[in-house]
Amino acid sequence: MRGLLIACGVAFAVLAMPAAADEAVPTLNDPVVAKREVELAKQLRCLVCQNETIADSRAGLAVDLRNKLREQMAAGKSDAEIIAFMTERYGDFVLYRPPLKATTVLLWVGPFLLLAIGLLIGWRVVRARAKAARPEPLSAADRERAERLLSGEGDAR
């Protein structure tokens, strides 16, 4: 029984090998460097497939940009220098997270602004309704009339 299990395990491992070969091979042996590369690649947009980072994309340009990234890391460039290198060539659009500047303020604060407007409108509507639902206090004339009606004198209008 145990022999069969081992045989199955070996067969499975052999069968599983081609699948493993399809996975991306880590090109850098140092895990710290590899992690830094992935972190940087995650911040950069692939301009061919615009909704993917160069870490995710398989497009030729993404591969080239990742190679460039490695090259620059090997040359001892800092993260900021590498990001600057990319924006000099491809503009802010290459950054997956747009920088906060005058032209992008609306992009960053817009949703909060809309939320604030929504809350303000909601608050005013609720307040107006609450006000409408609250009965107005009886005026002196009405009170007098009610007393008359209750004491059976009839409506003298």
Binding site: L47, V48, Q50, G60, L61, D64, L65, K68, T87, E88, R89, Y90, G91, D92, F93
Partner: protein, 178 residues
């Protein structure tokens, strides 16, 4: 008065949104504005396609207005714009330099033999590294570079007859005068 405001505010909101979306219908999201416009073009030296033992240097073009056209034999839209490049070359208005981007020299030469060669020189960017320096992300791309070596215009995707007649040719003529 209050009721008017109540109805007007959402209407104005809607109209503004609609105006932006309407404008968006005619924008091409693939056209990313290049930060390189108005900046000096990268200085480089690359092997010529026709004769890889000879080098083409961007300094060779100093003092004249020139067009850099990035193309590849595997690029289908390049075929679409190629007749326009041939036409422009026939006018002998401006030197057109070709960048054979991420292509094999054999395929590149065959392509030129088949479709005509409008280029004063074509050089090879085999690994696409120079392409990165020029911010190339989709072929074809076309740059207009002035006498001082500054990039003045970039066209992404195949050049259209309108872009050629209304932007590129007038810009080249204007830059040549200065």
């Amino acid at each position: 008065m209050k009721r008017v405001v109540f109805f007007l505010v959402p209407l104005v909101f809607f109209l503004v949104l609609a105006a932006f979306l309407f404008r968006g219908l005619w924008l091409n999201p693939r056209e990313v504005p290049s930060p390189l416009i108005g900046k000096p073009a990268p200085v480089f030296e690359k092997a010529k396609l026709a004769q890889p033992s000879e080098m083409f240097s961007s300094n060779d073009m100093a003092g004249q207005v020139w067009i850099l056209n990035v193309w590849a034999s595997w690029c289908t839209p390049c075929r679409v714009e190629h007749p326009l490049m041939n036409e422009l070359a026939a006018k002998k208005l401006v030197p057109i330099i070709g960048m054979n981007y991420k292509d094999t020299p054999e395929a590149g030469r065959k392509w030129l033999a088949e479709l005509g060669d409008p280029y004063t020189t074509t050089f090879i960017d085999y690994d696409g590294k120079l392409g990165i320096d020029f911010g190339v992300y989709g072929v074809p791309e076309t740059f207009v570079i002035d006498k001082q070596g500054v990039i003045r215009y970039k066209h992404i995707g195949p050049v259209t007859p309108e872009a050629m007649a209304k932007k590129i040719v007038p810009l080249v003529q204007e830059l040549q005068k200065s």
